[in-house]
């Protein structure tokens, strides 16, 4: 019984972490933050379709 439990596949991993001195962040969290920042900047910079001469 214990043997079969131990043989169960476990996909628990620590994940990939990036560290800068005391600061440490997991790759998934970093990706989400970067995506949000990129979206924010693009939303300010890119022209909105169909808004030719809006103020």
């Amino acid at each position: 019984m214990l043997g079969t439990l131990l043989a169960l596949p476990t996909d628990i991993t620590g994940g990939t972490y990036f560290g800068f001195g005391n600061f440490q962040i997991q790759s998934g969290n970093l990706i989400v933050i970067v995506v949000m920042l990129v979206l924010f900047v693009l939303a300010l910079v890119l022209p909105f379709p169909g808004s030719g001469r809006s103020k």
Partner: protein, 235 residues
């Protein structure tokens, strides 16, 4: 008894309030005054809304709609379906990814509104309902992670339980009680998020979409802050 409640476009300012003496009539009169139909379902929006920074609120709502639809499908089929079958796995995954999109859109929406000081022009309640919906959504997302029924969710629950017990809500929000957290996740918290988001949208309809700071002079809400909010609509 007989009252004429015809909200005219120009002068809706003070309709006859004397005649009404039932709560239904008074509520109707107040609703028509605060949220006339052309504000509730407007034909157009001000020109400054034609910008990408104004789409993220609706992006978050679209994500929320998908979260609720996929959540209903998961609820109707149950864990025995979504933990085992391929299609169940897929729907469960889209439920997670729509939550990721929901939070991404909501945070970009928050940044945009923060930097344009969106609480201007009597829009404080709109701002506050946005903050509350963000907070409640975090709790809803947290309970979702607890329902994975794997080592991850067990780890998250036992990291959180001491803090929740310390603030005294451990009995009603017991992260180690899977059935209770399941009910929080599929009944109470979705209801709370839906109600607060609906209120947020209604308040945006009442007060109008906030203009950029350099277009503030075009905002009826801002130019008439002292007066009653009985202007037609920001155009």
């Amino acid at each position: 008894m007989t009252t004429t409640l015809e909200p005219k476009a120009g002068e809706t300012a003070a309709p006859e309030t004397e005649e009404l003496h039932t709560w239904t009539g008074k509520t109707r009169q107040w609703l028509i005054k605060v949220l006339p139909s052309d504000k509730l379902l407007p034909e157009g929006q001000p020109s400054y809304v034609a910008s990408w920074i104004y789409v993220f609120g609706m992006g978050a709502i679209a994500s929320l709609v998908y979260i609720i639809i996929s959540g209903v499908i998961l609820s109707l089929n149950g864990p025995a379906w979504y933990h085992v079958s391929a299609l169940g796995h897929f729907v469960n995954s889209t439920h997670l990814w729509s939550v990721e999109l929901f939070f991404i859109f909501m945070v970009v929406h928050l940044w945009g509104k923060y930097w344009m000081a969106a609480w201007r022009g009597g829009r404080v309640l709109t701002w506050i309902t946005g903050v509350v919906s963000f907070a409640v959504s975090i709790v809803a997302g947290f309970t979702g992670y607890l329902l994975q029924t794997n080592f991850d969710s067990q780890w998250i629950a036992f990291q959180a339980k001491d803090a929740l017990n310390a603030v005294g809500i451990g009995a009603w929000f017991n992260v180690a009680n899977l059935g209770q957290i399941f009910m929080w996740h599929i009944v109470l918290l979705p209801l709370a998020v839906a109600v607060i988001v609906a209120l947020h949208v209604v308040l945006i309809r009442v007060h109008g979409v906030v203009p950029p700071i350099d277009a503030a002079e075009t905002d009826a809400q801002l130019t008439e802050t002292a007066a009653a909010h009985t202007e037609g609509g920001a155009r």
